[in-house]
């Protein structure tokens, strides 16, 4: 979650709290006021942290169809974008698919990363052979400023070194904590070394897009669900987090077919389903 979202959630929750503090104003309906306050807090939290749970529910309940552009429709379930053309319905859906948390973003360096990467082309070809419908594997990325990234890593390493030396002097610190700090310092050091070896840090997002066709809207959506299920099964060999993207983030992915805004905006739009 980015700083802006944290600030917004904080401010709106504080305002909600203000309502709860005037308990005497609600007299005998105090319990009702408390229930309303709790509902509001839950709604604010879900809207800010997992809006994909709420928005499709909202459109489904109100039976709202969204038109994102001419000839396109997002049915109330918010699971696909449908284009109606030449008397046919083309439904497009999306699945999250971060193939590998790029080495510079991963919290932990995995052993045998090279051998995993070397298996990539084989796995990809096997996946392609078993898929008999159109799909796209998409990676959107931008190299991160190396100097800024290096400074950030060195800052973090310095902080960890400080924590380590303080913990080492403290008799109450367990060996597990010291081991964990050592491991984290090692991870950062490996990343710094990789920068020195010429690798570039990357800010990225990846997803799979698939399109199905049908002679009715429901037909196309049913086919789409089947395709999404099949893609989830096939791409499991990559050890990915394959989740069907719904709601607002699906609409944003649809827009990425036509233009790419700044990377910060792309990353900020995809905070929850990625």
């Amino acid at each position: 979650m980015d700083e802006e979202t944290i600030a917004r959630v904080g401010i709106t929750l504080v305002v909600a709290m203000i309502f709860a503090t005037y308990s005497s104003a609600y007299g005998p309906l105090y319990i009702l006021a408390l229930a309303i306050f709790i509902i509001a807090v839950i709604l604010i939290t879900i809207l800010s942290l997992a809006d994909f749970l709420l928005f499709p529910l909202f459109t489904k309940m109100l039976k709202i169809t969204t038109i994102p552009a001419k000839d396109y429709t997002i049915p109330k379930e918010n699971e696909g974008v449908v284009k109606y053309v030449n008397g046919l319905y083309y439904a497009t859906g999306y699945i999250t698919a971060n193939v590998y948390n790029y080495v510079f973003q991963a919290e932990q360096m995995t052993e045998g990363e090279d051998s995993e990467m070397a298996m990539g082309p084989d796995k990809w070809e096997k996946a392609l052979m078993s898929i008999k419908f159109p799909f796209k594997f998409v990676a959107i990325g931008q190299a991160v400023d190396i100097q800024k990234y290096r400074d950030d890593l060195e800052g973090r390493r310095g902080y960890l070194e400080f924590q380590f030396s303080r913990s080492e002097g403290d008799a109450h610190t367990s060996s597990t904590v010291l081991d964990d700090l050592k491991r984290r310092m090692r991870v950062i050091q490996v990343r710094i070394d990789r920068l020195g070896a010429g690798e570039r840090p990357l800010s990225s997002m990846m997803y799979i897009e698939t399109t199905s066709v049908g002679i009715t809207l429901n037909d196309s959506l049913t086919n789409l669900t089947q395709q999404v299920d099949q893609l989830q099964t096939v791409f499991n060999v990559f050890d990915l987090n394959l989740v069907r993207v719904v709601g607002r983030e699906m609409y944003q992915l649809y827009k990425l077919n036509y233009y790419l805004p700044e990377m910060d905006r792309i990353i900020s739009d995809f905070q929850f389903q990625k």
Binding site: T5, R8, V9, T12, V15, I18, F19, A25, Y26, G27, P28, L29, F37, A40, L43, I44, L47, S48, D51, F55, I64, T65, T66, I67, A69, K70, Y72, V85, N86, L88, Y90, Y102, D114, M117, A118, G120, P121, W124, L128, K132, F135, K136, F137, V138, A139, G141, Q142, A143, R200, P201, T211, V213, I215, R248, L256, Y258, Y259, L260, E262, M263
Partner: protein, 273 residues
Amino acid sequence: MNKNFYFIIFLAFLSASFIFAVIISILPPSLFPLAILLMIIGLFLDVLAASTKFYAYYFTPFLKRKNNTVVLNAEPPFYVTASGNAIIVREDENVYASVFVKIPVYLSSTEMSDEDKLNFARSFSKLITINSKYPMKLASQLYYLNKDEYIRRISAKLNEVEDRYEKLKADKTTPDRLLGRAEGELAMWHNLFDGVNKSPSQNQIAYTMVSAMGANEEEAVAIAMQRAEEISAGAGSIFGVTASIASGEEMLTFIEPEYSIPPATISELLKKD
């Protein structure tokens, strides 16, 4: 509507909610039903303020909805430029141009050693980190080939061979050798025609997409083209292929669903179903 405007909406809802809280604080205790009502409205405004982070764009179209249909944009999602090799999208006051670069990589993992495979996988990382100034989309797409023209050619050839065969058959003086040959040729074209219709043919292609924002269409296209040339040169040197800018129908295959499932393949798919 830009981000600043959405932030103003957030502040407006938040302020309104806060005002309701202040009113509740000065209400006498006897007016508790009114306090509850004001609380509901105030908290609703607070929830709306929280929703502006992601849903500010939805508010106005939602309020203007007709028959439960929210229209976010009634225009086509993009326009193809006159040159046919870029698309234009207008978002608020901004104009974005996007250009697509085809990367024809025809390598199979079966032909690669372990080291080649590792290098190949790393090549994609290299390509995507080619620049740090703008984002780039790298995609590998599997799509149905448009066999319309191919089928038409086979069908024309089949008709021609069938005519010839019928003529030869009707002519009693035709030697058996010639008739047998025409019959064989006819069977071959029949098999080809049946085979091509049996299942849709697929193709896989890798491409990159870059976008640029400009004050007007020409500026946006010029910047996007320059970026595409950079990417094209980079992809060429990384993969050792000739990357080129896609245009026309080829470009639309990357964007429009009906181009990745051409109408010619639909009947095959329906038959299969």
